[in-house]
């Protein structure tokens, strides 16, 4: 009996995989609409004057950010957790009815929150804080979702057979703790209906913090939601999926240690770089700036560890589109974590802040690193949970190149747009007067906004190719035996 391989139960992993694909398409579709609205404002009225309120750029923008962060990325994180967790802890979800129940409840409450978020944001119900836009009833539901996941996470760890926690588990634990702390403190708010004795909207609330303090807490949260949503769990994925898919051992355990504890210590300090030249105390701005530069070390530590894992096996990058996705993700991680610190240097920030260069930075990170890694993880998981080969390798290759081209168009156009606008804002003529009115600095961006919209559209086309490939994999690809699922994932032509 001891020699029989465990039968893992992937029910909840499958559900989250499905939601990842759907919300990825929704979030990116809204993003593409926004991009075209910035290039051609007429798109704001795409469903006519009567629905203008709900198709307007400003209403849709939080829907884009939140559905990509808390929809696509978060469900991707959970899809991988309900797969990776069992395998590295050597315990099946089927072994505990209680944990299985928690996992299913986790999924369904999460779906309810998604529906509530989409509805309220479209109606303009918002607390006004970026990536923390939800009013208090939804915040409470978010906490419930998080606690359900946490109970499942530590529950599974509690009944594990493999005593040592694999590197990926470190990162999942950190994701859980980090977001829990940040979300709770940033969303401290007082429901006005109850505090005023029953006046006005029941769901409205007012922030516990005001002005500069509110900004400080918000960007401590905002930056680190990126840390613990877009970095830490994605690193968890690459530490599992790249060695698995390539059949190579992780290059260095010591480097993993250094990168993990370094990231944990340094990341939280860096939030201050969102507030450079604002009214928060100067020493905090400087700390934010300095620690952002230090952050290169642990970030590159993980990325280099991953690249060196491929040492001697680089032919796999050419041979397997799945390895391509992961290696490009890792490369974009390095790229993005170098670009961020550069933007956090005070003199660069003076130019870059408030411009599209920042938007470009976010997107080379999220499209190039986060989304590529999540899609690679789903591609690796699909044959193992559905017992079918990946439907089409050539479709994967096409998707890879279409999306890579999309990302490159996106960030190059936003670099040029951002730096152009930053330079024009500060330009003076020979008499010391401002050289440009604000609208001049908007009009000049039109070609770059258009290129960005094309880049984003290409990426979305890639998402549809991805969805189609996954759908065919689930339903009609060739069935595979367990023996074909050792390392490199089986793929059809």
């Amino acid at each position: 009996m001891e020699n029989r391989p465990l039968e893992y139960d992937y029910t909840v992993a499958k559900w989250f995989m499905l939601v990842t694909v759907v919300l990825g398409i929704v979030g990116m579709l809204v993003g593409v609409i926004l991009a075209w609205q910035m290039a051609f404002p007429g798109v704001n009225l795409m469903l006519g004057e009567g629905l203008a309120e709900y198709t307007n750029f400003s209403r849709l923008r939080p829907l884009h950010t939140d559905s990509v962060i808390f929809g696509f990325t978060l469900s991707g994180i959970w899809a991988t957790w309900y797969y990776v967790g069992q395998r590295v802890l050597k315990v099946s979800m089927a072994e505990s009815k209680f944990l299985m129940f928690l996992a299913k409840l986790h999924f369904f409450v999460y779906l309810l929150v998604v529906v509530a978020v989409v509805g309220t944001l479209l109606l303009g119900i918002s607390t006004g804080k970026e990536y923390a836009d939800f009013e208090w009833p939804i915040d409470i539901a978010v906490v419930v979702v998080w606690v359900l996941w946490g109970m499942g996470l530590f529950g599974l760890i509690g009944i594990r057979r493999e005593k040592s926690l694999y590197i990926s588990i470190w990162y999942y634990i950190a994701t859980f703790l980090g977001i829990a702390m940040l979300y709770l403190f940033n969303n401290m708010e007082i429901p006005t209906y109850f505090a005023s004795g029953g006046i006005g909207n029941w769901y409205h609330s007012v922030s516990m913090y005001s002005g500069t303090n509110d900004a400080l807490v918000q960007w401590w949260y905002g930056h680190n939601a990126v840390a613990f949503g877009f970095t830490v769990p994605i690193v968890a994925m690459i530490y599992y999926f790249l060695p698995k898919e390539s059949g190579q051992a992780v290059y260095s355990y010591k480097l993993s240690l250094l990168a993990f504890w370094g990231l944990m210590f340094v990341y939280l300090w860096a939030g201050g770089h969102h507030l450079i030249y604002s009214t928060v105390p100067d020493w905090m701005q400087t700390m934010g700036s300095v620690f952002s530069v230090v952050l290169i070390l642990p970030s590159w530590g993980s990325a280099i560890n991953m690249l060196l894992t491929m040492k001697g096996e680089w032919q796999q990058v050419a041979a397997s589109p799945l390895i391509k996705f992961m290696i490009l993700a890792s490369t974009f991680y390095m790229f993005s974590t170098l670009e961020g610190p550069i933007q956090a240097i005070k003199s660069v920030n003076a130019l870059a802040h408030f411009t599209d260069w920042i938007v470009g930075h976010v997107h080379d990170g999220v499209l190039g690193w986060v989304a590529f890694m999540i899609m690679a993880a789903l591609f690796h998981m699909a044959p193992r949970v559905y017992k079918r080969e990946i439907y089409s390798k050539s479709l994967m290759n096409t998707q890879f190149w279409v999306q890579t081209l999309g990302v490159v168009l996106y960030f190059t156009s936003m670099w040029i747009a951002g730096i152009t606008q930053g330079m024009m804002w500060r330009a003076h003529d020979e008499f010391g007067n401002l050289a440009y009115s604000f609208i001049d600095t908007v009009a000049v961006l039109h070609p770059y906004f258009t290129i960005r919209a094309v880049g984003g559209t290409l990426y979305l086309v890639g998402m549809f190719l991805f969805a189609y490939n996954m759908y065919k994999t689930m339903t009609s690809a060739r069935r595979v035996e367990e023996s074909e699922l050792q390392n490199a994932s089986p793929m059809g032509a």
Binding site: S164, I199, G200, H204, S210
Partner: protein, 230 residues
């Protein structure tokens, strides 16, 4: 030590939590008491202004407009005096924004007027040729939510001691008082008076009629808010 931690998940989690919480404690706590003091001339929002602020938030205006003037000549030339921490003392939440697709609005009340906003919100490109800002015509029809604004005033007055009905020193040496109605009806009547003064400067007949009939369209409230930004 690390090998030991990796076999003991509870202590591992504690170690991770301490490592990540450390920065927050040191960076955030020391500033809290000091930064929330208002500067001379900073007033809390009136009921109508606060209702307008809610409309600003609801439509995510801060997605494209900052409210933070950085201390550079190019910014003070364009937008006015650079921002001071105390000027935000009554801003819950803060609305600095993170992107300037449109210009900063920290002191827009100093250089734009009610009728400019009216025309601009109806058709931005007609006022600023080349503008990519969408129109906000539904604000001329929907009514502002005065009740919730009043509820928020009562809340911040009770919980955070935001100084309503209190004399506040102004920069020119005079004193100003921002009224908080004793009842919702009183607050609504005051908001309507304020709305009438704004509607008098507007051209839209539907808005004028609505205000005359005791209704306050969203556009009037948001203009009250924008005019208060100085």
């Amino acid at each position: 030590m690390f090998h030991w931690l990796e076999k003991h998940p509870f202590f591992f989690a504690v170690a991770v939590f301490v490592t990540i919480a450390f920065a927050g404690l040191i960076e955030i706590l020391p500033n809290f008491a000091q930064a929330s003091q208002p500067v001379v001339g900073t007033k809390p929002y009136s009921t109508l202004e606060l209702a307008g602020r809610h409309i600003y938030i609801s439509n995510n205006c801060m997605g494209c407009h900052s409210q933070l003037v950085r201390p550079f000549k190019s910014e003070t030339d364009r937008y006015g005096h650079y921002s001071l921490s105390g000027e935000y003392a009554y801003d819950r939440p803060f609305l600095w924004g993170s992107k300037r697709t449109g210009p900063d609005l920290m002191r827009v009340g100093n250089y734009r007027t009610t009728d400019w906003h009216e025309n601009h919100m109806k058709d931005p490109a007609a006022v600023v040729p080349g503008s990519i800002m969408p129109a906000y015509r539904w604000m001329f029809k929907k009514s502002a939510d005065i009740d919730t604004a009043y509820a928020e005033q009562v809340t911040v007055n009770k919980v955070f001691k935001t100084p309503y009905n209190t004399e506040i020193p102004m920069a020119d040496g005079t004193k100003a008082t921002v009224k908080l109605g004793a009842t919702l009806d009183e607050a609504k009547a005051d908001a309507l008076e304020e709305a009438k003064a704004i509607a008098a400067d507007m051209k839209d007949q539907d808005v004028k009629d609505a205000v005359a009939a005791g209704n306050i369209p969203e556009i009037v409230a948001i203009i009250a808010y924008l005019n208060s930004l100085k």
